[in-house]
């Protein structure tokens, strides 16, 4: 699709409408597809979709315990979602959130164990937070450095590193510091964060804890970093057009390396939710699935921190809801739905956007952005980048490879 030859200046209202259409409609189409698949599965199992969805909502948002569990799960997913989203903004695909999360949790548990009983709470928490960030950051830095130095595909390296790191952690825990007959470490001596149940009694029993405030702070921090700082601007520029960024004086390799490290740190912080907030120890496999779900969260959240928080709540609801409906349909239905949502978003978003652009052009209205609906603007004002979920080199196509005008 060639870029439109001329782009008449849009009045503000039309631009806002177009923007809203482009950011809301495609995910909506994807969710409808997922809902249809869900209905089919439910009917195959001989249940009524209405009943299942009602049960799903009641078991999650309908009572304090379910809601607490949703918050707990959404907290981890916010961290891994932010980690993946940050990488994608720089054109990098961090599939290692799984092991970065585990490594962060492990580091936090180690520090929590090393500190003596009675360490002042604030100090202990700060130490654990730093440890988690460092633990995830180290694992994230390896693929970043290999990509920057040797051009090694970060996709493959992060996948392979997942297996390596998890096997290594399993070995350390199993061989050296596990509580006998279990797969977890002893409880940490200091640094535990209070659960929500300690403040609001209604949440009793649920795992929700004050780490969710940290997750919100991290989302705010990522937003500020991406859209209000110079390194964040460089990061997005690299994601949209590495060559153009390089030409503009950005050291692309350095940005890649730093971004992967930051991404790993964000994922690592997610480990606090389990280690400091919930169980107070590191356990083999606590991170299972959260890293991959982070990809779904980033994708549905359009790689925007606000979107990531919303998407984290959505997937946490699905995940907890699966347990709530398990009596009616197998909870594995939720795994299927999650995968369908990812495929549908990845497929429908560019497709619907192309259709929108075509429709608008035939109606004689100009479109913001390039031909395939990628408003590839890197405005210093920090506009969001709603285009394809994967800006940058990997998805460069003929029609999106021209750097768009900086209006």
């Amino acid at each position: 699709m060639p870029p439109p030859a001329d782009r008449p200046a849009l009045d503000r209202a039309a631009r806002v409408r177009a923007h809203i259409e482009e950011s809301i409609l495609p995910p909506l189409v994807a969710l409808v597809i997922a809902a249809v698949v869900g209905d089919i599965l439910i009917i195959i199992f001989g249940q009524s979709p209405g009943d299942v969805y009602r049960q799903l909502l009641e078991g999650t948002w309908g009572n304090a315990y379910g809601f607490g569990q949703v918050i707990y799960k959404a907290t981890t997913l916010t961290f891994t979602g932010l980690a993946v989203a940050l990488g994608i903004r720089a054109g990098l695909f961090n599939i290692g959130a799984e092991s970065q999360l585990a490594s962060g949790g492990f580091a936090a548990a180690l520090v929590g164990l090393a500190m003596p009983h009675g360490t002042p709470g604030g100090l202990a928490v700060v130490a654990c937070v730093l440890a988690a960030a460092a633990g995830g950051g180290v694992v994230g830095a390896i693929p970043g450095a290999l990509k920057a130095r040797f051009g090694a595909s970060e996709v493959i390296v992060t996948i392979m590193l997942n297996f390596v790191v998890l096997a290594l952690l399993n070995y350390i825990v199993a061989a050296h510091i596990h509580v006998s007959e279990t797969l977890h470490t002893p409880e940490i001596n200091a640094g535990a964060l209070p659960r929500l149940a300690a403040v609001f009694a209604v949440f009793s029993g649920s795992a929700a804890n004050t780490t969710f405030l940290l997750a919100l702070a991290a989302a705010g921090g990522v937003w500020w970093f991406l859209f209000r700082t110079r390194p964040g601007y460089e990061l997005r520029a690299v994601g949209l057009q590495p060559d153009a960024a390089e030409y503009g004086g950005v050291r692309v390799g350095t940005v890649w390396a730093k971004t992967m490290m930051l991404s790993g740190m964000l994922a690592g912080l997610g480990g606090l939710n389990y280690v400091l907030g919930y169980k107070h120890y590191y356990e083999e496999g606590f991170a299972a699935g959260s890293g991959f779900l982070g990809i779904a969260v980033a994708l549905v959240g359009r790689n925007h921190p606000v979107g990531v928080v919303v998407a984290a709540l959505l997937f946490a609801t699905l995940s907890q809801g699966g347990l709530a409906v398990n009596a009616l349909v197998p909870k594995q239905m939720v795994d299927v739905l999650t995968a369908v949502v990812i495929i549908a978003v990845a497929t429908a978003v560019p497709e619907v956007r192309r259709a929108l652009v075509a429709a608008r052009r035939s109606a004689g209205i100009g479109t913001p952005g390039t031909g395939n609906g990628e408003p590839g603007t890197v405005t210093p004002r920090g506009a969001s980048v709603p285009g394809s979920p994967f800006p940058g080199a990997r998805l460069r196509r003929a029609d999106s490879s021209t750097p768009d005008s900086r209006r």
Binding site: A152, M160, L168, D335, T338
Partner: protein, 291 residues
Amino acid sequence: MIAFLIQTLRIAVPYLFAAAGGIISERAGIIALTLEGFMLTGAFCAALGSYYSGSALVGIVAGIAGGLLAALLHALATIRYRADQVVVGIAMNLLAVGVTRFFLRLAFDSSSNSPRIPGFGGGQVRSGVLSSLANPLVWLGILSMFAVGWLLYRTPFGLRVRAAGEKPDAALSVGVPVRRVRWLAVAVSGGCAALAGSYLALDQHQFTDGMTAGRGFIALAAVIFGKWDPKRVTIACLLFAAAETMQIRLQSLQLIPSQFVEMIPYVLTIVALAGVVGRAVQPAALGKAVD
């Protein structure tokens, strides 16, 4: 010694199958992250087919059909709709886990495994040389790599596959139907990976939840470590399988923790990707969509 080689071969068969499919897919420009999912789907469908028909051969056919179905979905999303291959690939693996679990509950009312199914060989028992040699899939697995080498370097289709993965634009300009070639390549990879899965299910005489246990990723590691070349990939598969065999045989001695043996394929792959000498360089258009 013979027993060691046979056991290595038994472990290597699924790697050979899946890696053979992975080579074709990656050489055509489609990232083979999905091998794991195709394998799992194939294993489950093979178990279904074998259980309901009572014949292991029908199981193989059903397994291939399942793998093809999954591959077609992947091709539809990534080739027809040009969705990102990595995203869809990851999702396909999640989908395979979810779908097999869902239908495991539906078909066998179990969340862990299927009932015993007709298969090849003596089941769980580490049976002797003969039973392995009687398993047609073992032979087919060895053959698959030769077949891929022949297909890739000795046939027009292979030339087109390599063109589609290296210079799709140039291939298009001389009339190669790049997208159709990629569709076929993904289908072949789905079928091959499904055979790997079928082998697992029929060899163990049942389907268990998540029974592929990362073997698809080890196959992918072998493809990369073997630099996308059938001969080297075969060696990589045998090497990884031999390491596993050693680990199983030396388990009682506790020489090396099993976790370190598990790491070998992955560490070698990372080293190969980052290697200063003889680095693995992927097909130029790997992962890039074609209009």
